[in-house]
Amino acid sequence: MSTAASAPLDGVRVVELADGWAANCGRILADLGADVVKVEPPSGDTARSRPPFIADRPGPDRGLWWIALNANKRGVTLDLAHPESHAVLRRLVERADVLLESDGPELAAYGVSPAVTSSWNERLIHTTITPYGSDGPLASAPASDLEVTAASGALWLAGDPGRAPVRTTLPQSPFWAGMAGAMGTLFAYLARGVTGRGQHVDTSAQASMVTATPPASVHWDTMREDHERLGQFLIGRSIVGAKFRNIWRCADGYISFAIQGGAIGRHTGTKLVEWMASRGEVPQILGAVDWQTFDNTTLTQDQVERLEAAIAPFFERLTRKEFFEGVVSRNMLGYPVSTVEDIEADPQLAARDFWQQVPVPEAGRSVAFPGGFALFDGERPRIRRPAPRLGEHNAEVYSSELGLGPAELAATRVGGTA
């Protein structure tokens, strides 16, 4: 029976037989209340060996990616090379609502394809999350974050002109792929309510990252303009093709601000000039702007650059914190380029009780994780347990819940030994 405090996906059972591409999908479903059982090979998920590690010392439970993306899950081991493993997997899948996997062709070769799993459990939602999707010429092509980002246009669009494109140093495509997989899984879960049947959800990390920069495609489609990386500048505001500075140097780093149109952009311009006036003189070119009728869509590049040159010295005298407090108090558009340290100190996040302390057993302490991604009737979904140790829930899942016999249990042990 559901209570008022029930999490949205209470009672949903998920088996995650997957590497890093699906980890965020399992994490999201788990955060929403689903019981997610992560099935690892006896040697451990590859994410366990991904640096950085706690205190830079490797160890199966010390990898920060592992700790981050597997919180809220239970963990079991299964040796797919063991002859009984197929039967164990089948038992897990028969009682599950969702199977997440990221091996695609390899798992199919082992005998576990969407066609097979649906014969085990016709209500099963079988979600695959792979670099390029389950079909097509690249279905089996290996890729890491770098190649997926390259194949999605998101690498092409970042970097300084005249220099090599760059990717975000914290890999992003595993997050995008997992989020896309969770979207598809939940559509399929609702569809099951209509059709009574599960289905295959074929998720492509490449396609998921195309959705990180969609307006660029609109400019190509409509105007045959092939947008490129512009460093610190924005494009797509002007009908004459002007670009606008979006990243500016400040006294202790960088801030984000742009000359904008529309009601809020005009308010921002008006307030900026007032702010500058309160601290000294306003350059004539800025004082002469009539913000009530200001329209950024028709400015020429030269006009934009002259306005920006008049603003830049003002920002160079402000710290990130002064700029942040200044724009918030004036309801202006703009934010600092924050570090993780800045974000951890943001009063807005504290006021909303965003951070959640989660124990990290290997570190012997708790750490503030980003809390649930949204509030549901004022409740933030909780992280209920830290990422599992290797095989931590073998006894609980295999013996207590599935009631496996000794032959089957042999396939679940580290090294395949009983």
Partner: protein
Amino acid sequence: MTDLAVAPSTGVSAPQALAGIRVVEIGFAAAGPLVGKYLANHGAEVIKLESRRAPDVFRSTYPPFKDNVPGPDRAAMFAFYNDGKRSITLDLKHPRGTEIARALIAKSDVLIESFPAGTMAKRGLAYDELVALNPGLVMLSSCNQGQTGPHAQHPGYGSQLTCLAGFVHLLGESDRAPVFLYGPYIDYIAVGYGVIAVLAALARRAATGRGTCIDLSQYEAGLQFMTPAFLEHQLNGTVPTRAGNDDPVAVPHGVYPSADDSRGDRWVALSVWSDEEWVRFRRAIGDPAWARDPRWDTAEGRRAHRADLDEHIAHWTRGRTRDAAVAALRAQGLRAAAVETISELFTDRQLAGRGFWRGLPHPVIGTVQCISAPFALSGTPSRQEQAGPTLGADNDHVFGTVLGMGEEERAALARDGVFS
């Protein structure tokens, strides 16, 4: 009309995941409307509510426009972000406008709004009032900073919120100013989490009958994608910063110029993840003499002499097209990909094979290449038939058929400016 048509090629109309779900969307730009788009693509009837005085900013403020001439029905961004929706116009500052909106929401399953916190309450559309009319209502409020807290009222654009959320500090070369990824990166993260929140709430409603009020801060949704960086700071005392294309494990790991462009601005992305892969990498590039130097045999050696290594690799890539370089590396089971330009995404065989791009008709613009979801559903595939609607295209259907208002009543309301 946007009535669901039977796919002509198969003659079979597959069921849709959200068949029978009605959504009202009062949002603008990307973060709210893209949530509505994905719901529409999966069978929901999504009714986008705008006013003629202040339509969606993607109709008014953001190029490109058809023939570069602005106009609410000429805006390609709007057409792209709103495919499959119905459009109605209603003045929510007019008391009758609010009443009609409430009547429509009472007959709907989901309400999406993306105004700054407090705006809906000012219009008489607070969740507490609406849920009294419709106990099963799922309402998604998606805004910059969330509905509560000292910054709740602060408006913001996604390209700047992306900076606040730490992504931009992590993007660029270590000794240069940060760069940002083109547009409102964080908005699209909030879109995914917004869709997930709505679907999870609908799942719970199916089980319990209860609706849900969802408060989604785009900032907080974005920070989910930063989680390992916060752990690194707290556990190891380091503040992660941008490091170009470096990776802590793979070396080489980066982009290299190809023969596709005389200026060297067409790149191959490649990465080598172990010493065993390095042996295969040597084989892929023809095992030249330089590569046999034992200093390359270990990751430590390759990292210590990386500038040298990158130069050697660039020499190899410059001599061939991206496709040839990528093919040689993939033939050895290695990770490599062309750094695709935006126009190249439209001819990418992998994306095309998934039907990712959907050329959809629009009465003014012509055909608009819209995107489908990054997942494909085998049993209840998405259906996309019409680019974003012209302003007020579905007033007659929604006010007449859905709400049952007679022609005379509608004409009188129109005269009073309620539909403006």
